[in-house]
Assembly symmetry: C2
Homo-oligomer: 393 residues x 2
């Protein structure tokens, strides 16, 4: 990668974040009346559903705090992070300490789900916010919430299983994947890294042992309790964007550990495998689902191009290139960067579309909903900008 290319990309990501993505959300999503943020925005930023997704409250709060911690201490970012923390503290939690998935504009609970993702995103919000402010209470809340997540995940019966565990016991890649990044962010905010290191090691080892399948050169989404291959629709399914996300969390950890060769190998192997499954040779971009045996996928929208797998692949390829110097990754990065920037940005109203058809045509023009908010895109812009700053030195 030439110094010129590095500079060009750095500008694209930095300016995209500071002059497009952030202003779009800050202008449209902040609820000054009831607190928190409304993320269900139409193409032009109009609120089309006032319900508040708890995932996104945590994610945006994490982003704002992180920018404050790593870019510059802008008062606006900290004020908005506090705005998010206040809403999460006031309206995010049920009486049992677990969190809701969706609340009304006023903060009254609409839906609670069995999964622990609201909790992981609140953990990173509280952790990054405590680092920004020195707020010891937020630090303790983040740690307590992480421990609650661990307790729920490791205590049989606390999370009711979706499938009968006697006939179809299984576990999802999503869990170790999200725990790695949650522990990585929490570790930056707490005094003792032991617990976080322990869980990062444990989760990477679990992915390597149970989810990586050399016989398919693939990372599966769902396996049996001991990594057994489940030869049904769900067990054969791969989500390349998801696995590639796990790849860069692992690469990031390798980098923090002085380019630990074993972690580096795991990260690049996952990326190599899942790039091959995920990159659409015909239309470009990372496809949503594939079947490890090449059979039809049950999810009929399997071939769509969502924004976030592209974001994850842009980070993963750039990080792999920085760490290995292998030109293959620079080439992949250029492919996915160019494809994504051709189809996803909305030149008229800003930000990215989220949901494209396989060939890049827009399916739904909205900018945000319960799943899409200021997270994957700005995280990519921020992470790649900072990577390229290192590479430009």
């Amino acid at each position: 990668m030439t110094p010129q290319r590095i500079n060009e990309l750095l500008t694209v990501y930095r300016d995209g974040l500071l002059n497009d993505t952030l202003p779009f959300w800050i202008k449209h999503c902040v609820d000054r009346e009831y607190g928190g943020f409304m993320f269900a925005l139409d193409r032009d930023g109009t609120v089309i559903d006032t319900d508040k997704g708890i995932w996104q409250q945590g994610r945006f709060t994490w982003l704002l705090s992180t920018l404050y911690n790593t870019v510059e201490p802008r008062a606006e970012w900290l004020e908005l992070a506090k705005h998010g923390i206040d809403f999460i503290r006031k309206h995010g939690f049920d009486a049992d300490g677990r969190m809701f998935f969706q609340v009304t504009r006023e903060g009254r609970p609409v839906r609670k789900r069995r999964y622990i993702f609201s909790e992981t995103f609140a953990t990173i919000a509280l952790a990054a916010y405590s680092k920004a402010t020195g707020d010891k209470q937020a630090q303790q809340e983040a740690l307590d919430l992480f421990k609650l997540i661990i307790r729920y995940l490791t205590t049989p019966g606390l999370i009711p299983p979706k499938f009968n565990p006697e006939t179809r016991a299984g576990k999802a890649l999503a869990i170790p994947m999200i725990l790695i990044v949650t522990a990585q962010i929490l570790r930056e905010a707490v005094d003792d890294p032991t617990l976080c290191n322990e869980w990062i090691n444990r989760c990477i080892a679990e992915i390597e042992r149970d989810f990586m399948k050399p016989e398919f050169k693939a990372v599966l989404e769902t396996v049996g309790p001991n990594g057994e291959f489940i030869d049904h629709f769900d067990g054969r399914m791969m989500c390349p964007g998801h696995a590639i996300e796990a790849a860069w969390f692992t690469l990031h950890e390798a980098k923090l550990r002085n380019n630990d060769p074993h972690l580096l190998k795991i990260g690049t192997t996952i990326l190599d495998w899942m790039w091959t499954w995920g990159w659409d040779q015909e239309y470009g971009g990372i496809i949503y689902y594939r079947d490890a045996k090449g059979l039809p996928v049950q999810e009929y929208w399997h071939d769509m191009k969502f924004w976030w797998p592209q974001n994850e692949a842009i980070i993963a390829t750039l990080l792999a290139y920085q760490m290995t110097g292998d030109e293959k990754y620079a080439q992949w990065h250029q492919q996915i960067h160019d494809w994504a920037y051709t189809y996803f940005p909305d030149p008229e109203y800003g930000e990215w579309y989220g949901y494209l058809h396989r060939d890049g045509r827009i399916s739904v023009p909205l900018k945000g909903n319960m799943w899409k908010g200021p997270f994957h895109l700005p995280r990519m812009q921020w992470y790649c900008w900072k990577l390229l700053e290192e590479m430009a030195v």
Copy 2:
């Protein structure tokens, strides 16, 4: 519609049913080893998932029994219907009398869901089978199961709500819609029609009062307990295929009641409204979801063309034409018939694809899964064939 067109269509539906759809399923889905049927079939009929969906066990058993009752008493159809009933009786039920959603090939439970659709499809299977055989036990089982469904639907708390009823109380069109057809089929098999008539009346009245919205010229999928409009993603969503299915159930009831003008008006109004929302002016076919305010739909695959909305629209337009003589319906029938027969049939291996992109390209080539089986397509072929027989007289 000319007599020649009537004869042509009659042949298409009858021969499609008897020489294509039925042989495809009978050849590939019958499990002689463990009983019941395996419906997860690839394009060529290969089983790609051995799990058994309980919905489809009931639906195919209903179809086979109904063909035996209305087409001719073929021993093969009755034998296969018994094969389905045996599996349903042996493996379909949990200890509480409710039914599973998905079981293993051997019949061990994989998944149970809160909704009552497994039960409604088993009800119509048992009812039609009892009519075919005179099996009084099956007749009683069908009636008992219908009463269990009613008890679950009308007893607060028995079915845990997905959303918090204090903040987002709602009810789904699917419930009155499925109860109408379930009661219609059960009524043919039981001695006293009172209970079934009562529920048919109640459900059609509920759809008219609470789900039909003249201000949008639309039937909504989800409304508040008293028909309140819920101005969120879910509350604005329409599924034209679903509403059109309810339309022809209502028209069918009107026909049985000597062309009852009020029911006829409800059925044609729903069809008129939802054809307008559903018919894709650009590519043809019935689109999956629309938003009543024209805002983006949250389901990103909203513009796909599934097989079953086309099946329902083919029935509804033909039945409306027969009952009203309005040429508009003959025209719509021709439009949807021609579009569906252009894109859905698989000339090489038979049957229809289920999941097409908006423009008719295939998304997933499989022929069956937990939701697609021998039901909507053969029901359309059978119902339209019989209608056209009446019209040919």
